[in-house]
Every structure is written in C-alpha cells, then in structure tokens.
Symmetry: C2
Subunit: 319 residues, 2 copies
C-alpha cells in the first residue's frame, strides 16, 4: 500500500466533523482503501463479484446434504438471475460474473487421490486470475460447489493443524451422521496428502478444488493489481491459506466480510488474524456475505469523501 | 404484526433456492418486515431518517468533551449536507430530515432540577410523533445534543438500576476526570428524581431531554403506524426505556441496528433483549449506525422478494 495516501487519508479523518475515531471501523476501511488505491479519497466502483463453481469427487463419501447435480443447476440459476447473490449484487451495485470450471469433470476424491493434476490446478488458478476486471476497484470472490466445505476443511487441517473435528461443519445442512463421515473424509485426505502438500500449489492441487484454486488465483491477481478483496465465507478464507503459508502478509489486501455460521470459520478467521465486518449467521456461500459488506465499504468512503471538515463547517473542535 | 403475512413469508423462505436458514438473520428480518407491513413481500422504501437535536443544562457539570454550542453548529452542518449522517443517508437511499428542539433553551440541569416542564416534554414528544412521514415504511431515529449521553445514562440507571458507573461512557471522548464528573452527575440526578419518575412521561420529563423525548415520540408513533424502526445507538436505546417499562413488548417493532462503542450500550441492549445487527465500533450518534444497517434490511428484502424458488429454477432440494 501507498503510505503517503494512507497518511493523507488519516489526516483527513482527523479534520472531519466528528470526534476522531467516532466512526470506528469505517475510518479504518477508508484508510485501508486509500493505501491500496494510492489516493487520499478512494472510490469503490466498479465493484466486481465473481462466483467460481466446481464439482468434487469427495461427494462420493456422503459429505453433503445436497446431490452434486445441484452445482450445475445453481450455475443456471445464477445465469438466470434467481440466486441470492444475484439479488445481493444488484442491491449493492456490484457487477456479477460466473465462472464454471469443468463441472462435468469433478475433482478426484481427495480421500483416495489428488484433487487435480498439475495442469488442471494451474488452469483453475489462471481462470481465477483472468476473471479480475481491468478496472475493478473492489473484488468479491464467491463460490458454488456441492461438497466444497470438505476440501476447505482439509486445507485448514493440513495448513493449520488441529483435528478434522475442529474444521468440519454442517455446510448446506448435513445431519450428524453425515458430519461424522465428513470428519472421517477430512482425516483420510489429510493423512494421504499432507506430507506431499509442502507448497501453496501442491496443497491446492492435492486437497483443494477447481473453484478453490480459482478463488486463490483471483485473490492473488487482485494483490498484484493492488485491488482490495472482500473475503466471503469459510471456503474463500480457506482458499487463501496455502498462499498465506508462503507469504504471511497475504491477507493485507483482504477484509473479512463476515463470519459465517459454518463451524470452522470463527477459528479460521482467528488464525488469519482477521476481524470480520458482519456476524449475520449466513452459511450460503456464493459471495453473499461479501456482497452484504459492500455497503459498509461504501459507507466508509461516503463519509470519508463527502463529510465537511471542522473548518469548512465552522464547527468548534474539541478543546 | 400480521401473523398471516409472517407465515406466508416464512413459507416463501422455505421455497427459495438456498438451504433453509442459510441466510441467517436476513431471513428473520424479511419475516419481521412481512409481519409489520402485512405483506408476504414487504418493501423498505420510503426509508425515513430523522435527527432530533436538543441542548442540555447538565453540560454545566463538565460532562462533555465538546462545548454546547456545537449542537447548533452541527444542525447547520446537517442542513448544509456536511455531516456523517448526510453521507450515510445518501448512500443508503434514506430521506433525511432534522428537527431542532429549542436549541436556545437547554433543558434544566438534571442534577438540580427537572429536565423539562410537562408542557415542554409533551411538546417534544409531539414533535417526535409528528416527524413520522405518512408513507414511511422504515424509520431511522438519530440525535445530536452535546451532553446527551449523561441523561441517557441517567434514564438507564433510573429504569434498570445498577450504579452510575455501569451506564456512563466517554461520549464524544471525555477524559478520565470528565468521566468521573459524569458518573457523579448521573448519581445525583437519579438520587434527586428517581422517586418521582414513576411512569414513562415523568421519567422522560425529569431525567431526559427534548431530543430524547422526541425520539420516544417518533418510535411510539411508528408503533401505532406499524412501521419498523432501526434503533441507532445508546441514546436511542435509552429513549425507549421509559415506554418499555410500561409495555414490555415495546421493542417488538424495533431492530437494534448496531452496538456502539459507548460503554453502556452492550449492557443496555442485553437488558432490552435486542441482538444488534452491526458491531463496528461507532460512537457518533446522528443515526449513523441505523443508516449503516439499512442495506442489511434491503439485502434481506432483495433476497426474499427476488430469489427464485426451487421449483421456478428447477434446482433439486435437499432429500
């Protein structure tokens, strides 16, 4: 981030007609955006949301409450404008695009084999990176993929340690028996692959999924372009873990939009050192939590850019 | 609230293309709005924000970091469009109006006398009630009044008990010595008046303030008109306490927009049984927290009204 712009934004905050600090996290967000955008008065638009979709061989282990054909059905729903993310991106003024990654070819079942070949994983990363718009100023990354909380939990266990139980949750609403199968699957996958998962690429390739690798690629591309990212839920947060292991400052351009109801997300955000903006009990994915946080960023920039200073408004500042 | 509309909205939520419950509090908000509006598919617009302003004799006790002339200066800032609430209501699509209540006549110093005469208090309540627009579907109530966290804390201590220290906070940023003066002032005011403050009107009259009574009047008028209210911060929450004592269901049409950084607000929301939507460390007042929560309500209604059902989208529901 650009320190001069950060400092200029901080100085501006101190002159606006409010006690310094009285806008809480809005002030932090305005200064954060100023730094990444290299401007004392940053703008959010265009806001871009991308939903990446992938299918998962591990669904064979009975880890999801929904059948895998729902992934392709929901992609059609996104394209027809009928999903939650369509309503929420329309409401917050974000452009939405959907990238479906080889839905007719699920990843390998991670309890038995690698999720992807090197070629497949690289392709997914590249598709993710290519999705970032040239003029995007704020990126939202979401996902759809029946079964994908299982590889996400496996990534957490492999990178951060802990037991499978720490990281598995009910996803779309699996019952107790399914939750046990999920923990067993995560344990088996980590036991099989974690020895070989020694760098970011291999970790994503062995334990991840196409939409997970694509999210990582998009968030990496955003970093290179200095575009801030509103991280969505558990899967988006897990997608950056392999990259974060290689570069502990990889979350610097990310804001955690929300803490989801998926069981592992609280712990994951804590390990990432991220304080989520919203706690609304969401557990849908698609980028819905990120879209709901866009108006908070807009509010931060509206106050930062539009408020009068004490001098301009002839208001007496604190003694 | 209209139970038939609530039930219809609940049934609609169960058919939308998402696991039931996956939108967390958004689902609750949609059903809440449906009940109060008497419609399966409620709308938020017009959203109305009103900022009430008043001055306080208790500032003579050195309880604020800012001098009392800032109240009238900030009203001019609201009218010129330069304050935080102007930026935030513009960003969230709310109509803003400002009602300044006799700023040249501060209330009585509550440590020594009644805040208002019966006539003054009634006038403030009526001005509050009159501010509700005829077509408003969602009301935001905010305030400006140098010194007003002191009467708000006194209302909390008088109605809910506890010590002055439980309820006083730093307001606009008072130092440690000022905070001690504030606790002493609250203790003195409660000792002087709480015996006589036996009903809602007398409590508001003796310990409140003009803008506090006006907020109570506006929120009461909203209840009679079945208009939901987004409660702002500590002062808005304290304003409804006297009415709540007479009718324990008085918060039923209120959503707590946020938990502010003002020390007593966490405890007050807990006593009110309200779970705030946002935790952003705000401590500005003006209705800023309520305005930031409007997009959450809009998101709730956008998903509720616009999403496709499982049947419409031909998506397979959970087995």
């Amino acid at each position: 981030p650009d320190e001069a712009s950060r400092t200029a934004a901080l100085n501006r905050q101190a002159r606006l007609t409010k006690p310094t600090g009285a806008l809480g996290r809005l002030e932090d967000i305005a200064v954060f955006m100023a730094g990444w955008q290299g401007s004392e008065r940053p703008e959010a638009d265009p806001v871009q949301a991308v939903v990446f979709a992938g299918n998962h061989g591990v669904t064979a282990q009975g880890v999801s409450a929904y059948p895998p054909e729902v992934t392709v059905q929901m992609v059609a729903n996104f394209e027809a404008g009928g999903a939650a993310i369509n309503a929420l991106t329309a409401a917050c003024g974000a452009r939405l695009s959907v990238v479906a990654l080889d839905l007719d070819r699920p990843t390998g079942d991670i309890t038995r084999e690698a999720a992807m070949s090197a070629e497949e994983c690289l392709d997914a990363l590249n598709q993710g990176a290519a999705a970032l718009g040239a003029d995007t100023r704020l990126l939202l990354v979401g996902e759809m993929g029946i079964g994908n909380t299982t590889p996400a939990a496996a990534l957490c266990a492999a990178v951060l340690g802990g037991s499978a139980q720490d990281w598995v949750g009910r996803g779309t609403g699996i019952d107790d028996l399914g939750l046990s199968r999920k923990a067993v699957a995560v344990e088996a996958a980590v036991a099989l692959h974690s020895g070989a998962a020694t760098d970011a690429f291999e970790t994503l390739r062995l334990l991840g999924g196409r939409e997970i690798a694509a999210m990582a690629g998009a968030i990496l591309a955003a970093r290179l372009a200095r575009v801030p990212v509103l991280l969505d839920g558990f899967i988006a947060s897990a997608a950056i873990l392999p990259l974060l292991r290689d570069n502990p400052r990889f979350t610097d351009h990310c804001i955690a939009a929300h803490c989801s109801a998926e069981a592992g997300h609280v712990l994951l955000l804590d390990k990432l050192g991220l304080e989520p903006l919203l706690h609304l009990g969401l557990r849908l994915g698609e980028g819905t939590g990120a879209a709901l946080a866009v108006p908070i960023v807009r509010g931060a920039l509206a106050t930062h850019n539009r408020m009068a200073t004490f001098d301009e408004a002839a208001v007496t500042d604190k003694a």
